[in-house]
């Protein structure tokens, strides 16, 4: 009996291969999007862990030079000899690789992510030395004598080696970049200031700023993954619902033959589990492909935006492929729950008749409306009060779910109004029939709504961001040519050579400071027309540059203002002197605080800082000549000369690559929503024959019935798009004004891009029309015999 039942059940899929495909494809797609995003997140998280293990910033206090420069090695030895248990680190870049030199004997974390058991420490410490890193990093260091050893757990873009070797490679002999402070210190050690007055302790960055920034990025990705999964589940739900509806007669027959309900349900559950596993496996594989395609962009995003290195290659981590399979099973269960419930409640001798769903009405609709209203009210409240990432995402969640729930009710009302206004019988039938079809389509339409709203919201955010960012670049990169000197002597020669050939030479110099416990970069600016003319402030006192130039004022970035609560007129303490905030400027993409002083004041506070980098103002057409002359006459290497156009292009490239991930995910969600519509329509097509047959019998041709189907789908998509636009804009506002401020510390102005929205709307309509085309065509080709059967005795 069991075997016969299984055969009977499975034969359905053999007779309906398209349904089988839908089910498997929907589930696989949903799983793929979910597990792909999870894979990216898992890879990034592993990279951060490796970075944290390398550097110990999150775990241990650090000692750094007060002036932000390097520390003489003698200071390290003096501290050790005074009883301070510190470990030296030297850090720098070589051929684009971040070289980290450690002393494994004193480092509290040893060699960080390098497994000591496999390590020949004698070789690490002496002779030509050893360098640990990922394969691509080592490939970039091929010319070194040291033994190169692949270590997958070392942070991407980073190579770990002995401090002695690193000092030599980086040209930092006798210097250390910073020191790690052991958590356990001996009794009776003197104060730091007594031993080494030029260094200062920086507290371990508990839950570092970088962590928060990247958390937000990954939260974004996860939200996308969940959204895609939800859309995918709509598809699966449709496919399963259809299969169960179509198998009603089989079920009735089987049960009439004496098959217990329990066994039938168990067999069907088994069938679905098998399918879920197959589709889940496919989905995980597909997710792997998606992730490996997107990962380089994610890596570029994180590298560009936050300076975090993430490996560009993907590893199979059990965490995400297991979660992918689990999610496939869970999703199938969710999608099939309603079908099973109906099956269990089906009376034994109920007719095998298939029922189309009826108009949304009564209690259920009322409850749904109430929930939607509450969610939207909460969203409204959050919009006014939200402050912080969690509240920001709660706002997004309530907004989206509330809108998705409200959509069928709104559409139902709109259709009812249209029905009332309709004059002709045919129009009345069209509206009424559409209304009746709405419950079957509402899941797919909700998917479309979410996909469109997400598209509108994210593209508004990204485009607003890009506009602001490029304006910001124009402001910040005013100089036509940027030059970095190798040492002070070359800097002097450079200034002497360039002075008669340029309008202005602007030194770029900075020192590290703490302002109200926020790490802050203090800049010394040579105030002149470049600043006065180009610089726009978010808020400022009258004539801010004059205040700064006279030495009493300071300009601070928005991050510093928001995180510390500093406002115009407040006092900022730097090196024991007090300055008044004269202006607050936007500083997009910078995770730390920034403060600008006038050059003479800066030189007084930080006499040890000598500028090696300069911005040169000159006419654009002279840039090429000056570049060549600087290389020839002053010996500046090509790599140390960057023209403004180059930097801007590079920055915008980074930016665009950053958001390619977003674009790709947008397209995918829209595609999935289109697929959902297709599947819903296919499901309904079979069920709706009883409703369409009378219309056909009364004289409508099959062709016009098909056209009506097509028009209906497009029209519903239009209505959905109309609802999606304001929802998307609300989403964009929440992202820019709430989530962004919480995550990054700056607020972005919101711009509108009507052309983009129109294009998106067309895409959505296109997707809906495409999805409806085949069901409509099938309807137009329905054999009249099938339509006649509706009136046969069996029904």
């Amino acid at each position: 009996m069991t075997r016969a039942t299984l055969q009977a059940l499975l034969s359905h899929w053999i007779r309906n291969p398209l349904q089988l495909f839908t089910l498997l494809a929907g589930l696989a797609l949903a799983t793929a999007l979910w597990s792909g995003v999870q894979a990216i997140n898992a890879e990034a998280a592993a990279s951060y862990d490796a970075a944290a293990a390398t550097l110990g910033e999150g775990t241990y206090d650090q000692i750094v030079a007060r002036d932000g420069g390097s520390i003489p090695q003698e200071t390290y030895v003096a501290l050790r000899r005074a009883g301070w248990l510190v470990s030296p680190v030297v850090e720098g870049r070589l051929s684009g690789v971040r070289i980290v030199g450690l002393d494994p004997l004193t480092a509290p974390g040893g060699l960080g992510p390098v497994d000591p058991v496999d390590t020949d420490i004698a070789a690490f410490l002496s002779g030509a030395g050893q360098i640990f890193g990922q394969a691509e990093v080592l490939a970039g260091l091929a010319e070194l004598d040291a033994q190169r050893i692949e270590a997958p757990d070392v942070a991407p873009g980073t190579a770990i080696t002995d401090i002695g070797l690193a000092q030599g490679l980086l040209g930092l002999d006798g210097q250390v970049t910073r020191m790690i402070v052991s958590p356990e210190q001996p009794l009776g050690r003197p104060d730091l200031a007594q031993v080494a007055p030029d260094v200062t302790v920086q507290a371990a960055q508990a839950g570092s700023d970088l962590g928060r920034l990247t958390d937000s990025f990954h939260l974004n990705l996860t939200a996308f993954g969940l959204l895609s999964f939800a859309v995918g589940i709509f598809i699966v739900n449709g496919a399963i619902g259809l299969a169960f509806e179509q198998r009603r007669p089989v079920v009735r027959t089987l049960r009439a033959l004496g098959l217990p309900l329990r066994r039938l349900m168990a067999l069907m559950a088994l069938e679905l589990t098998a399918m879920a596993l197959i589709a889940g496996t496919l989905g995980v594989a597909l997710g792997y492909v998606i992730a490996s395609l997107l990962l380089p962009d994610v890596a570029a995003t994180l590298g560009g935006l936050y300076g975090q290195s993430v490996s560009g290659t993907l590893q199979l981590r059990p965490a995400w492929w297991l979660s992918g399979l689990a999610v496939a099973l869970l999703g199938t269960g969710l999608a099939a729950a309603a079908a099973f419930w109906r099956l269990a409640r089906m009376p034994l001798l109920a007719s095998g008749q298939r029922r189309a769903l009826t108009v949304v009405a009564g209690r259920a609709a009322w409850v749904q409306g109430a929930v939607a209203l509450v969610l939207l009210a909460v969203a409204g409240l959050l919009a006014l009060t939200a402050n912080g990432l969690v509240a920001g995402f709660a706002l997004l969640g309530t907004l989206l779910i509330g809108a998705a729930l409200a959509l069928p009710l709104i559409l139902d009302r709109v259709l009812a109004l249209a029905e009332g206004a309709a004059r002709s019988l045919r129009a009345q039938w069209f509206w009424a029939d559409t209304r009746q079809q709405l419950p079957g389509l509402s899941l797919a339409l909700a998917a479309l709504l979410l996909a469109m709203a997400a598209n509108v919201g994210v593209s508004t955010m990204v485009s607003s961001f890009r506009l602001t960012f490029s304006g910001f670049l124009d402001q910040r990169l005013a100089s036509e040519l940027y030059v970095t000197a190798e040492d002070e002597a070359q800097a002097e020669a450079l200034v002497a050579f360039a002075a008669p050939r340029t309008r202005a030479i602007l030194p770029i110099q900075s020192a590290e400071a703490q302002v109200r416990d926020l790490p802050t970069e203090v800049l010394g600016a040579r105030i002149g027309p470049t600043y006065v003319d180009n610089w726009t402030f978010l808020a400022s006192v009258p004539d801010p540059w004059a205040r700064i130039a006279e030495g009493s004022g300071v300009a601070i970035n928005e991050q510093l203002s928001r995180r510390t609560g500093l406002d115009l007129g407040d006092a900022v303490q730097l090196q024991g002197r007090s300055f008044t905030v004269a202006g607050i400027y936007g500083d997009y993409g910078n995770p730390i605080g920034q403060a600008i002083l006038t050059e003479p004041v800066f030189a007084g506070l930080y006499p040890q800082v000598t500028p090696l980098q300069f911005g040169l103002r000159l006419d654009l057409e002279d840039v090429a000549a000056l570049r060549a002359a600087l290389t020839r006459e002053v010996g500046i290497s090509e790599g140390n000369l960057i023209d403004q156009a180059g930097i801007k292009q590079f920055s915008l490239d980074v930016f665009d690559r950053t958001f390619m991930v977003t674009t790709a995910l947008n397209v995918l969600t829209l595609a999935v929503a289109g697929f959902a519509i297709l599947m819903s329509l296919l499901t309904l097509a079979a069920l709706r024959l009883p409703q369409l047959a009378p219309a056909w019998a009364m004289g409508m041709t099959r062709r016009s019935l098909g056209v009506v189907e097509l028009v209906r789908a497009v029209m519903l998509a239009v209505f959905t798009a109309v609802v999606a636009l304001p929802l998307g804009l609300a989403l964009a506002w929440a992202l820019l004004a709430v989530v962004n401020v919480a995550a990054f510390g700056w607020k972005l102005p919101m711009f509108l891009f009507p052309a983009d929205y129109a294009r998106l709307g067309l895409f959505a309509l296109g997707a809906a029309a495409l999805a409806a085309l085949w069901p409509a065509w099938r309807l137009a080709r329905t054999p009249p015999a099938d339509l006649l059967k509706v009136f046969s005795n069996e029904r």
Partner: protein, 342 residues
């Protein structure tokens, strides 16, 4: 990551499997101690980078005003990756310091590891200074000894009241029948005054200390698994150093030096007998913490009892080291070191 695993990989004398802490290693390119040594002081108080390992080892039996006995240890080990030395991080000389204070109830221990070549650790022969981080021993005849850990510190002065003692044959100390040997001399005549800083506060102490200087490149035979080492100071002014090297075949190799109160040293080979009387459960191992020690030639038959049986050195290479009391044919006190107990 476990720092200790790293250290175990690191120190060459722990890198081999055989013998305690790999001390049975082959000498390789390193110099090998030869009989009839000619010491040259103060130079030989300094480091001998041609040899694989070397130590400056101070143990002290101290007493507070209330009569409470304390033990103190200060050790600087030198361990070379190659028989050379140079300035900078590339110096193949590595340094490890162990410091401990033992009370009847507690045992405080801490460890430091450093690289040579950059000034963080090293030894200068004249004027004598041996240091790692903030730990220092300065001066051989009159000196200062300091160390600090997370929960203890000490600062004591040493005053030598007798001559240097050369162990074995004029400082050539044979460690096995196969001929492994080290250069080994001691200064057992230090008088000590100073301060211990313990969790309960500062304690003024007085007592005696014993410095061991030893360097070699392969002091143990491959078949030797560990040693039991005694430095005993008797109330009549005589002193005795003795050690028992345990072999895999169950036999022992023993050696002793009898030090008369005037500093006359007499070596004894295979004359010392050291027999465990009882063991204590220390760090999960059975470690003998009471011994019968006999040197019949000098009429010595004493019981050596640990003041604190839990004086376990929980360092990269763990071992037992602590103060002892001596009773029997001679009364006195001393230090006991036991290695290789697994």
């Amino acid at each position: 990551m476990n720092g200790k695993v790293l250290i175990l990989c690191l120190l060459p004398f722990t890198a081999q499997a055989q013998g305690f802490a790999g001390l049975g290693a082959e000498a390789g390119d390193f110099a090998v101690p030869q009989p009839d040594p000619q010491f040259d002081f103060p130079t030989d108080h300094g480091a001998h980078p041609d040899y694989r390992i070397e130590w400056w080892y101070v143990t002290a039996n101290l007493e507070a005003a209330d009569g409470t006995p304390y033990g103190l240890q200060w050790t600087l080990f030198r361990s070379a990756l190659a028989p050379e030395t140079q300035a900078g991080w590339n110096d193949p000389q590595l340094w490890m310091g162990h410091a401990a204070v033992t009370t009847p109830e507690a045992h405080f221990v801490t460890e430091r590891i450093a690289r040579g070549g950059i000034g963080q650790a090293g030894v200068v022969a004249d004027p004598f200074e041996a240091w790692i981080d903030d730990w220092r021993m300065s001066g051989i005849d009159t000196g200062q000894l300091t160390a600090s850990g997370p929960d203890f510190a000490y600062d004591v002065t040493l005053e030598a009241t007798g001559p240097l003692i050369f162990q074995g044959e004029d400082g050539y100390s044979v460690k096995s029948a196969a001929g492994q040997a080290s250069y080994y001399y001691s200064q057992p005549f230090y008088e000590v005054t100073g301060t211990l800083t313990l969790p309960e506060g500062e304690i003024e102490v007085t007592g005696n200390a014993w410095l061991d200087r030893e360097w070699s490149s392969q002091p143990l035979a491959e078949t030797q698994t560990g040693w039991d080492w005694f430095s005993l100071s008797f109330d009549d002014g005589a002193k005795m150093m003795g050690f028992r090297l345990r072999q895999t075949d169950g036999a022992d190799f023993t050696s002793a030096t009898w030090i008369a109160p005037d500093g006359t040293a007499t070596p004894f080979n295979d004359a010392l007998a050291a027999t465990p009387l009882e063991t204590s459960d220390v760090a999960g191992r059975a470690v003998p913490t009471a011994w019968q020690v006999q040197l019949p030639e000098r009429g010595v038959d004493v019981t050596v009892q640990a003041i604190n049986p839990q004086a376990w050195m929980d360092t990269s290479v763990p071992y037992w080291e602590g103060p002892v009391t001596v009773t029997g044919s001679h009364d006195g006190r001393g230090y006991l070191e036991m290695t290789g107990y697994e």
